[in-house]
Structures are given as C-alpha cells and as structure tokens.
C-alpha cells in the first residue's frame, strides 16, 4: 500500500520518486505514453520496477503524477499573468496580444528552462495533447477547464459584440496553433536548413504571439463586417 507524501517530512524517499518522475517525463516526451515502460523508467531512475508501482500504483498513475507536476505550475502562471495584465488595465479591455501573452509566455519560460536540462518540455506538452488515451483526455478536462473559462471571459470582455461562435473558433485556432508550434518546434532547424535557431525561445515566443494575435483579430473582425 503506497504511503501518503505527508507521512514523512524531510524524507530521502522522495528522491526516488522524483527520479522516477524525471525518467517518466523524458520517456513520455520522446516516445509517448506507450513509449513509457516501467522497466525503462525504473532503469533510468536507478531503481526497481516494483518501486515504481509502490509509489504510483500503476503506469497510468505514474504518468498522471508526472503530467500534474509539469502542467499545474504552468497554468497557475498563466492565470497569474492574466490577472496582472487585468489589474494593470483597470477598466480598459485587454488587447488579444496581452491575453495570448499570458497563455504562451509561461510555457515558453518552462521550455527555456527545460532546454537547459535537456528535458524538452515542448515535446511533452505537444504529446500530452496528441495521446488518445482516455485518461489523458480526462486530465485535460480537469486541468484546462478553469483556465479556458478565464481566457474566454477575458476575450468576451475585449470583444463584447463578437459572436460566441467566432470567439470559440478563433480561440481554438490560437490554441491549436500554439500546441502545433510546440509540437513541431524541434523540426524548425532541419526544416529551415539551419537558417532558424530553435533554441532561441525568445524569438519563438515573440513570433508565435504576434502570429496568433494577428490571426485571431483578423478572424474576429472579418466576421463583424
């Protein structure tokens, strides 16, 4: 029976747990859910197969825990960014660029961090959206529902006259573009024959935010004519 994390305060055991989650993250990012094998994870974490089951109960539970560890801080930052922009704007409605900055920048910051540790968050985010497994879909519903509602509300405040259909369609395009860009990010170097630098995350965030903001505005405005 697994122990609750609260039981031991400054326990050394969480080292194993973290090593397991790190290994899970690497394997999941590069090979997807089915590429995560208990043996592969246990080996990379320098521990035993049964130890992984002891801590997480199952493969599903282990991948779940690893996604939770990664996604929740990012979403917290997104809401924080959005809140800051909101309070700075006062009564003024936010521009799309400000809203999508709050959506994209927190991920880019984590991508920049993960690049240093070779953990490749971009692929991880992308993969968690392409995996078909039901439990991942459920996880998205859990993790992104609140986030989605906040961003939709902010966009509705910016475009009070826009139809919900246009709003959702174009937000969907923004999110899909963001995820697709993260997913394809590693191919940029090869694709551009070395002309573009995929390690320049600042360039990525600036160009991506410009791209989706302009596209979004165009999509809303063209329908209101």
């Amino acid at each position: 029976m697994p122990a609750s994390p609260q039981t031991c305060l400054r326990s050394v055991n969480t080292d194993t747990k973290n090593r397991l989650l790190n290994a899970t993250e690497r394997l999941f990012a590069s090979h997807g859910f089915s590429g995560v094998t208990m043996r592969g994870v246990a080996d990379r974490a320098h521990t035993n197969i049964a130890s992984a089951h002891y801590h997480f109960g199952s493969k599903e539970g282990m991948v779940m825990a690893m996604l939770k560890r990664r996604i929740e801080p990012i979403n917290a930052n997104r809401l924080k960014y959005l809140g800051v922009s909101r309070s700075l704007a006062g009564d003024r409605a936010l521009r799309p660029r400000e809203i999508f900055r709050a959506l994209i920048l927190p991920v880019c910051h984590e991508i920049a961090k993960s690049a240093a540790t070779r953990e490749n968050l971009a692929q991880l985010v992308a993969r968690s959206f392409t995996e078909p497994a039901r439990f991942i879909q459920k996880m998205h519903q859990r993790f992104f529902r609140e986030l989605s509602e906040n961003f939709v509300a902010e966009l509705q405040r910016t475009y009070p006259k826009a139809s919900p259909k246009d709003l959702y369609w174009n937000l969907h395009l923004v999110i899909s573009s963001m995820l697709g860009t993260f997913a394809q990010h590693r191919r940029l170097g090869d694709f551009s024959k070395g002309i573009c630098d995929e390690n320049d995350v600042e360039d990525l965030s600036r160009r991506l935010i410009d791209f989706v903001s302009t596209g979004f505005e165009a999509g809303i405005n063209s329908s209101s004519e």
Copy 2:
C-alpha cells in the same frame, strides 16, 4: 516473399490488401503507431496475421504503405493547386492566401471525404507528425521535401525582399498551425460546448486559411519595417 502488385491484373487479392490498409489507417489514426497491432489489424480486416506479413513484410512496411496511399495524392493535389494559381497569375506574384489555399484545401477535401467513411483523416495527418519513430521522420523527408521547396520558392517570389529567416520562421508557424488545428480538430465541439460544428469542413478551411495567411503576412511585414 510478397508479390508485386503488377503481377495480377484484376486480382481479387487486392481486396485483402486494401482491407488491411483500411484497418491500419483506422487504428493508426485513433491510437498511433504503437496502437497498430498486427492482430488488431488482421481481425478488423477479417483475415490472418500472417497474411498481413505476407503482403507488407512487417508492421513498419504496412504502416508505411498506408501513409503513402494517403499522403501522396494529397501532396500531388497541393502542387496541382499551386500550379493552377501560378499559371492564372501570370507574371504577378501570388498572395499568401492563394499559396496557403493550395497547402490547406487538398487536406480539407480529404477530411470531408473521410468524415463520410468515418476514417478521420485529420487525426491521421496529425499523428503522422507527432509519432517519434525514425521511419516516419524519414518518410516525411521523402514526401515533403519537394513540396516544401516549391512552396518556399513561391513565397520568395511573393516576398523577394524578405529575409530567409523570416520566411522560414513564418512558414514554419503556418505549417505547425495547420497541423495543430487538424490534430485538435475533434476537440472543437467539446471545447466550444457545442457552439462550433467540427463537421463543417468548409468553415474550417475558410477560417484556417484566413488565420494563417494574416498571421504570416504580419510576421513578414513587422520585420521589414
């Protein structure tokens, strides 16, 4: 040893082959490469495991054949569309919207067709770009190199003063957005709480082409100031 397709002219055997490819396509689209199992494919095709090996040599060969069957006609249409626009334009440079129409419309047409047969091409296209397997990457290099070169050349003709870096970066954003949108396409209904209709492929193509064309132009022009 597998037989070449040319051996038998009006053979009934290709029925089995096609049923195998159809089953492969369904499984690959909904569960990815590792979700394609020889047993699962053989069962859905109402034939035997060894029969699949007989026709395609291996699981890899089978998925390869299925991707080839799907992707090559689409890319042929893309080049055809681009060629028609080019010849209609005469000496005039094509607008981004015309270029990306040629990139996106052929896929949307296949999506509309596949929706009728419940084969869901959108997921298939998306998945073939997220799968990490080396053979899929190689396949992309084979299938999309010529296509990419033609579209880059056309964009360079439209924006002769733009830097290659800006051109590649924004084309990368366009392609990533397109793939991301196809990948996320099935979530549109749930995401929008039923407000948007994901079966309206015309709406999809129109909005997507508008979105990426505007984003692309903004990305190119903002750097040239």
